[in-house]
């Protein structure tokens, strides 16, 4: 195709790509500049300080505590979500009475925002008047109402459970796709050859859905790592930073403590981490599509 012919398609592409590059490129460039300069409370960059902002950050125990909690959060939410989603998708891909209703209920939370989920759970878990306490008291599972969100030791695991609940629908969708792509005749052959359901799952199903497991892991790591709303709404990272993960701590460092330079350094490192997982995702997704 000659040059003039390419003008039109590139003119059609340009606005989309320009918007993406603007909305992501400008912030990244700005964060890079700020992370190596001194920045005052009003966000004006001063002297070049090299790696000082990074070393200040590395000397901050709250940063490390949030970092450690982010690892726990991401690993627990991701693994919990996948361990629930595989059997659920397996059941939902069988034929049984009321399957479409069950499927609808399982997938529904995808359309409801994390914010709404967070708000409703915050009330459900209310230490005095919450509905969960109403249930627990009624069935005699506790004789005192439980203050679910008052301490980090209880609030953080509770947040993890809610994070899992929020992530299950999308992951179930991925595995529903995986199970529907399985070749039926091979499984019929295995059954005729006398393979039990457990062996079939272990030696046939799992290896065949492996690419989908990879995609589900990477996607969930990305979502869990980025998930701000659930923790912010439940506890705002409190009490006393005891439920902060990196994204919530980042927000505080930048907008509450006003340390823009350190926050920029932190933000950049998180962006780099995210980019690695996005590249992994792109690789898995590309390979899946090539099949």
């Amino acid at each position: 195709m000659s040059r003039p012919h390419l003008l039109l398609p590139f003119a059609m592409l340009l606005p989309s790509f320009a918007l993406v590059i603007w909305i992501m490129g400008y912030p990244v460039a700005d964060l890079m500049r700020m992370s190596v300069h001194a920045v005052n409370r009003f966000g004006q960059a001063g002297n070049f300080v090299g790696a000082l902002n990074f070393s200040k950050l590395f000397a901050d125990p709250l940063f490390w505590a949030s970092f450690r909690r982010t690892v726990i959060w991401t690993v627990c939410v991701t693994s919990g979500t996948i361990m629930i989603s595989i059997p659920v998708a397996l059941i939902l891909s069988q034929d049984f009475a009321g399957r479409s209703l069950a499927r609808l209920i399982v997938l529904l939370p995808w359309a409801v925002s994390a914010t709404m989920t967070g708000i409703v759970w915050r009330w459900t878990l209310n230490g005095q008047f919450g509905m969960l306490n109403a249930l627990l008291l009624k069935f005699g599972l506790t004789d005192q109402p439980i203050e679910f969100l008052a301490t980090g030791q209880v609030a953080f695991p509770v947040a993890i459970l809610i994070g899992i609940l929020a992530a299950v629908p999308l992951t179930v969708i991925i595995f529903l796709g995986a199970f529907s792509s399985l070749p039926g005749d091979v499984f019929d052959a295995a059954r005729i050859d006398g393979a039990g359901p457990l062996n079939t799952f272990r030696y046939m199903t799992l290896p065949l859905i492996r690419p989908f497991v990879n995609i589900a892991i990477v996607l969930n790591v990305i979502y869990a790592f980025n998930s701000f709303a659930i923790i912010w709404i439940l506890t705002q990272g409190g009490p006393a930073n005891s439920t902060d993960i990196l994204v919530t701590y980042l927000y505080k460092v930048a907008f509450q403590y006003g340390k823009m330079a350190e926050a920029s350094a932190m933000s950049l490192m998180m962006f780099a981490f995210l980019l690695v997982f996005c590249i992994l995702y792109a690789r898995f997704a590309m390979r899946e599509r090539a099949l």
């Binding site: 912030p27 700005d30 209920i105 989920t117 005095q128 996005c278």
Partner: protein
């Protein structure tokens, strides 16, 4: 195992998850129907003694929730329109022309659709304030589109590729102009994909937290999500009956859209780069 037995077993196995999923809706409904006096009773009760529908009327005046819903609608529809206007031509170009560096372009789309605004939020805030767009709905529309357009292009392209070129070529041979064949042949065929893409963009905008939280300032500009968040986080006393009524009002329309279009949405999620 008989069909009936199998069905019962599967429902039993799913029940813990189903209960956890439905619990928030039950809580919303239970609280939203209670009069204020019944909300703060100890021990808490599930069923309201008197059903009070006034929570659903009070929220329009007292917390100006109608305006918040309109704000949400405005930014979500705005973002959806802008995203489609940008993404449809781009996806068409990707699907119909032999472009140099096509692989690189696709990789760029795949990578950037996974980037979330959270890690860039400081930079986005500074950029928008440099443009004078803080507390301005246009900043949200631009940002939502910026973070949705890569996914939209990706998804539309994969669908556009399934529409055979021959149909358009036949129209050309019959003397239709390029624009006429685009408008009368291609776009109607592409409508289902455009619809699903619109729904994704709309839901992403409607459910956003971090961007609205960072870019909006005054109560009159808040989206429904933000309004609710400030109601439960700011003040010491929370009128949970009103909050739950408002939450229900915000959630139900989206849930209905999802229920009606479940097949298309799930299909879209599974097909177009699982987002």
């Amino acid at each position: 195992m008989s069909y009936a037995r199998k069905s019962i077993l599967f429902w039993l196995l799913l029940s813990p998850l189903l209960i956890m999923v439905l619990l928030p809706y039950a809580v919303m409904l239970s609280t939203a129907l209670k009069p204020p006096t019944e909300v703060f009773t100890f021990p808490p009760r599930w069923l309201p003694e008197t059903i009070d529908l006034s929570n659903f009327t009070v929220i329009w005046g007292k917390i100006d929730f109608g305006r918040a819903l309109l704000n949400s609608l405005y930014v979500s529809v705005g973002a959806t329109i802008l995203t489609l206007l940008l993404a449809i031509p781009a996806a068409y170009a990707m699907a119909r022309y032999t472009l140099p560096a096509r692989g690189a372009l696709r990789l760029f789309l795949l990578l950037t659709q996974m980037i979330s605004p959270v890690v860039l939020i400081i930079g986005i805030f500074r950029m928008m304030s440099a443009q004078g767009l803080i507390n301005d709905h246009r900043s949200l529309i631009l940002a939502y589109s910026g973070f949705s357009v890569a996914f939209a292009v990706w998804m539309l392209q994969s669908y556009f590729e399934t529409i055979p070129r021959e149909i358009e070529e036949a129209a050309h041979i019959d003397g239709a102009s390029w624009f006429a064949s685009l408008r009368h042949i291609f776009l109607p065929l592409a409508m289902p994909a455009i619809g699903v893409t619109a729904i994704f963009t709309f839901i992403a905008a409607w459910t956003d937290f971090i961007l609205a939280f960072t870019l909006l300032r005054t109560p009159d500009k808040l989206t429904a999500t933000m309004k609710l968040f400030y109601l439960v986080s700011g003040t010491y006393h929370v009128d949970w009956n009103e909050v739950m009524a408002a939450t229900l009002v915000t959630t139900v329309p989206i849930a209905v859209i999802f229920i009606l279009l479940q097949k298309q949405i799930v299909g879209g999620l599974a097909l177009g780069a699982v987002k």
